[in-house]
Amino acid sequence: TGGSTASESAHETLTVFNYSEYLDPEMLELFTEETGIEIKYEEATTPEEIYTKYISGGIDYDLICTSDYMVKRLIDEGEAQPVDFSSMEYSSNIGQKFWDISKSVDPDNAYALPYFWGTLGLLYDTTKVKGDIDSWDVLFNGEYAQDIIMQDSMRDAFMIALKYLGYSINTTNENEIREAADLLMKQKKDVQAYLVDEVRDEIVAGNASIGVIYSGEAYLGNQYNSDLAYVIPKEGSELWIDEWVVTKKCKNMDAAEKFLDFLCREDVATANFEYIYYSTPNEAVVAAMDEELKENPAVVPTDESIANCEVCTQNDPATIELYNELWKELKAQ
């Protein structure tokens, strides 16, 4: 019953691995309908989970969608197969800007197809916060003690601190990292909670005034509470990009390419966008959006706002270990 031993060898099958709730399930049915290719669809919540399941070899995934640094890792470890994007009918819907961003993990644009992207920023309740917020400073100056919610994610927390201190988020300089860690330690007493997925709900519910959040979540939060605003601080932030790669285990490159091409098609990309409202690199979709949506920085970040942003490509083991130690120290404090 495993993915690769599908008995219906007459049928073509693709085993697809993606973040959960990251694709409109009806699109999968549509794809099968159009091409006759069966999809075995598997979901996970973090890049590491995806990597772990893939690398353990239990399931032979053909296509994986994961985030920047993990994409880089897969490529670096030779787990990805090159794809000829130029031959695909709809790949041109992906804006050049995103191919360029993708180069930070896939220098030749040979492996990875951008799927969604976004930023890390602050979601805040305008009724509870004095004036407009434009800096990470609010997280560190103690003004909103016990009223801020941090991401319970090692990488994101360090990125914020590094950016606030003016360093690169991909730094391997131990001193810079330790400086960031000290900052986070000092901050801890002011933090109401470190949360992953519930940040949006907490801000919506009014349990806290400011929260660190991914841009797409900010849009959703706004839907429930129109007093909420999203900002990418001026110090800059993380620019994340989730991309598709074809694994080296994929035996049916043709089908895989068909699937990737399908995802780039405007109607499909629109459906997926409307399923989650994360920023899409598909320019055809962006072009067709309502003005209101188009102008929402949480949905379509402006170029200025991401000018200072970086893509995370950090895979240096020593740095990760350092992160890890310092993070545990912070949490254990």
């Binding site: 973090t46 590491e48 989970e49 990597y51 772990t52 941090m150 319970d152 994610s153 090692m154 801890k188 933090v191 109401q192 909670a193 470190y194 949360l195 992953v196 519930e198 907490e202 519910a205 009014g206 349990n207 083991p317 990760i320 270990e321 992160y323 890890n324 130690e325 993070w327 545990k328 120290e329 949490k331 254990a332």
Partner: protein
């Protein structure tokens, strides 16, 4: 019963243990005894004594212990009250106690969070009643509350079972000899239900040692438990060797404690059944 022959009945189970407990355990121990490069090391096993891990261990132990004690403190009076009640079918009680557990664990913990958060349902109710607000979310107390909530049925069931199976005439004999209510509880019911408490402790204390979801959701991620660390080593840091090492030493720790404290418990009939 022919003991030498019935012993053979355990063979399928032994095979199962060998196949699905021991072999995977060997995998984990092997991981624990090597570093990320694959070289032999005992460092991961002793990593639990590093200051941060020790801190987390102590925190985990205290939260698990406090939760277990609270579970016992809640379960005991409940069991005694139920014993004294006139409900004929006591098994219906067991069902009622276990029923909440049929709702998904994460959903229940999320619901608990909605109840106790600063702007939560309880505080809204308190506000209406113009009573002081509770500020418990994102504290160790909230984690304890969550653990008690989630594990209480595992304590209630065995405790209730063992208390229900104490013969009434023994209690009456004690009353007859001059025991008042409290004395009966401390000198008859308590010692006679130790077996059930033992089962309950195993089923509450042990899993709550490795718990991390509750700590994440209700503790606001500000309290680091050993469960969090192990989970993080596996899923974030991708240092399986350290994760395995911590896990193996925790396992050894728990097994040794249960061996020490569990002694004699297995001799007493600790009912853990309907």
């Amino acid at each position: 019963m022919n003991r030498s022959r019935t012993r053979l009945l355990a063979i399928p189970y032994i095979i199962w243990i060998a196949g699905f407990t021991v072999i995977p355990l060997i995998f984990i121990i092997a991981k624990a005894m090597t570093d990320q490069g694959g070289a032999f090391t005992v460092g991961n096993l002793f990593a639990i004594f590093s200051p941060i891990h020790r801190k987390a261990l102590i925190m985990s132990l205290s939260l698990a212990a406090v939760s277990t004690v609270i579970c016992i403190l809640i379960a005991y009076p409940a069991a005694i009250i139920l014993r004294e009640s006139h409900i004929k079918k006591k098994s219906i009680i067991l069902f009622i106690l276990i029923l909440p557990m049929w709702m998904n664990f994460i959903l229940r913990i999320l619901a608990m969070q909605m109840l106790i958060s600063n702007n939560g349902i309880i505080n809204h109710i308190l506000e209406v009643l113009s009573l002081p607000q509770i500020k418990i979310i994102n504290t160790p107390q909230a984690i304890v509350l969550g653990m008690v909530y989630d594990y209480l049925p595992y304590m209630l069931l065995p405790v209730l079972n063992s208390i229900l199976s104490i013969p009434q005439d023994v209690i009456e004999a004690a009353q007859d000899l001059g025991s008042d209510r409290l004395h009966v509880i401390t000198h008859i019911i308590l010692p006679l239900s130790l077996g059930g408490v033992g089962s309950g402790i195993t089923m509450v204390f042990v899993p709550s040692m490795t718990e991390f979801v509750i700590a994440n959701i209700l503790g606001g991620g500000k309290i680091l438990l050993l469960g969090n660390i192990i989970e993080q080593e596996f899923t974030v840091s991708m240092n399986w060797n350290l994760g395995s090492g911590l896990s193996v030493s925790l396992m050894a720790f728990v097994l040794i404690t249960t061996l020490i404290f569990g002694r004699g418990n297995e001799e007493r009939a600790g009912g853990f059944s309907l």
